[in-house]
Subunit: 377 residues, 2 copies
């Protein structure tokens, strides 16, 4: 890149080794964990301007800006950049690809150096706390003692919540957007059908499709199409597609007759290019099991160290509804955490957290700027 | 059956032949159409007590009572029977398996007598008006000139609406429950993913799985599981399953860990025993294309012959929401049809129309009894 106003740095770091393995919350360990991460902006001398971004189910480390040849910028380019809410002229921003992911960080489709084969379903079952363990290690690796904020939407917001409960003194504040403290039965149901589609695809090969040279494309496509419906509101789909035919000479059949069908197909195709079926299984299962407030003493640490929290939901989000965010708010407030809560009425469903909705962006900017100024005092 | 208080009769009738073929609205014809139907109760001498039941996407002719060996009664046993809202001591009830179905009526998995092979994807594309054509023929076959009412829920309600628009003088009234006059983009999206799952299953064999000896069980299971989520409300799923584990010693993995997952699996398994993948494709596509009020002059006949209509929706139904029912109401009222509309607050989502909700059952009973008494005057 000739000019990169974000000062993007992309790195791979080996954070766990055989001498110092990653021990998983629900059993198992890995002797080699590599993490791909990007940073934007500059760490100030006092190291007080670092913001940690946690990505959602199908995100990656590339949160902002354009890489060479990219047609589209990173997934949260509306939020992160010079003069944007997470202002890279002011803040140092860190975004890693998640443990279990498929964009540079060790995941179930990675090659196990011990066996020379992909982990497949031998990869340990993941827990939200494992993400926190790896994130904390990355922060230490970067020489940072305390983050200004941990910020995330959806599964990213759940990481921000878990981290705040596990180790509140790591951060000045936590920002939890369009998230939930526990999935509903309906959430789990959709998730289960997606996994079923993947695992019943003959190309899944029992999880060893890397070696077998097969790929569960049908299953992953179906999972993505179905999930995508839950990421957007009925109203948004209606506004965008209505009952419009895909072609003007609509001859009914079982092809792609309606515009909405074409859109879903496109979503599935582009997803196959960038995502892995095993990562989808592992990361979606973390969501199902997440229920931090059910743990005894879950709030003991944050009660002792009540960092400010911003919780934000969208009225049209029916995947993780405002009700789910309000549960986070009430659980945190119950132990004395000062929470700024906002429900944004504009939006297009769950994916609103990725969009340039000014009330929402202003809210995040104001919260972070206030944290930065108060910390500087 | 030793004693059958419903006086159940199950028959097969050949309603179209090569001399008098069924010509389809969207092209194509069939030289042999057989319809399986059941009747309950007794037709009175004046033939004024006949009620026609239209079944939903995955229903069949067996609407009420127990057949020998049945563990469960017919799908609308709460509604139909002696002393029930559609009282078989008073009314003569007719319920056929739908054209395109798989429980006795000619459908895409039936053998084409001309070729000796199943129709597969050569079966003509179906339209709601084709159902009406076949239903009308059955009524004539039974020697009935005018029905007291046409009653249906979901896709059944859409048939009742279409029939009322196409031929209002066939009936004294129409009862349209939990239906819609046109699917939303979200509705079509869910439907499309289900069909995709079926057609991309290698066992689908291009629609000729009957000859090939394969079966698209995975695809049909996935379609059913996903659809089933849309038939029930989030609240109902939460109340029934919450986040309960399926077994007490919950060891996280990718199996059936949560009770909701087990429930969906069970739904899929029982569905495979009674439903056909091609029927699912054809019948679900009828729903997508249904949009009767978009046709020029759609309401001309009913405006001339404004039969009373009962339209009923359920607050918790997010598949075909009250808003969709209200659109039916306003379109009918606009042309002078007297509509009784009720939104029932109790319920568990779309499938509420199958359940014994007293306010709802009383509503249907009162409406039908009033029609019967007024007609008798």
């Amino acid at each position: 890149m000739v000019s990169d106003p974000l000062n993007t740095v992309s790195e791979d770091a080996v954070l766990f080794t055989a001498q110092d393995p990653l021990v998983f919350t629900r059993g198992g360990q890995l002797d080699h964990v590599e993490v791909r991460y990007e940073t934007y902006g500059h760490l100030n001398e006092s190291k007080t301007n670092a913001i940690f971004i946690c990505h959602a189910l199908t995100g990656d480390a590339h949160a902002a800006g354009h890489r060479q040849g990219d047609r589209k910028p990173g997934w949260w380019d509306e939020m992160i950049g010079p003069g944007k809410p997470i202002d890279t002229d002011k803040f140092y921003v860190i975004c890693p690809n998640l443990l279990g992911g498929c964009q540079g960080t060790t995941g179930p489709a990675s090659i196990n150096p011990t066996t020379g084969q992909s982990y497949g379903l031998d990869f340990p079952i993941l827990d939200m706390r494992d993400f926190v363990t790896v994130h904390r290690r990355l922060v230490a690796h970067l020489g940072i003692t305390k983050l200004l904020a941990v910020v995330g939407g959806s599964l990213g917001g759940m990481q921000a919540l878990q981290w705040a409960l596990t180790s509140p003194s790591d951060m000045g504040s936590t920002v939890i957007i369009a998230a939930s403290s526990r999935l509903t039965a309906q959430n789990i149901a959709f998730s289960a059908v997606g996994r079923e589609a993947i695992m019943r695809d003959s190309g899944f090969s029992g999880g060893h499709y890397v070696e077998e040279g097969t790929s569960p494309d049908t299953g992953l496509s179906l999972a993505r199409m179905m999930a995508h419906i839950t990421y957007t509101s009925e109203g948004a789909l209606w506004k965008k597609f209505g009952r419009d035919p895909q072609n003007t000479d609509l001859a009914p059949g079982f092809g792609v007759d309606f515009a909405i069908e074409s859109y879903l197909q496109h979503q599935a195709e582009t997803f196959l290019d960038r995502f892995d079926a095993l990562s989808y299984l592992y990361l979606s299962r973390v969501l199902d099991y997440f229920d931090p407030f059910a743990e005894a003493g879950a709030c003991n640490l944050i009660a002792d160290h009540p960092i400010p929290a911003l919780v934000c939901s969208f009225t049209t989000d029916w995947r993780f509804s405002p009700r789910q965010s309000k549960r986070v708010v009430s659980r945190l407030e119950r132990v004395g955490v000062p929470v700024t809560y906002r429900e944004i009425e504009e939006g297009v469903g769950h994916d609103s957290f990725l969009l340039p909705i000014s009330e929402y962006l202003d809210l995040v900017a104001a919260f972070l700027n206030q944290r930065f100024e108060e910390d500087a005092r």
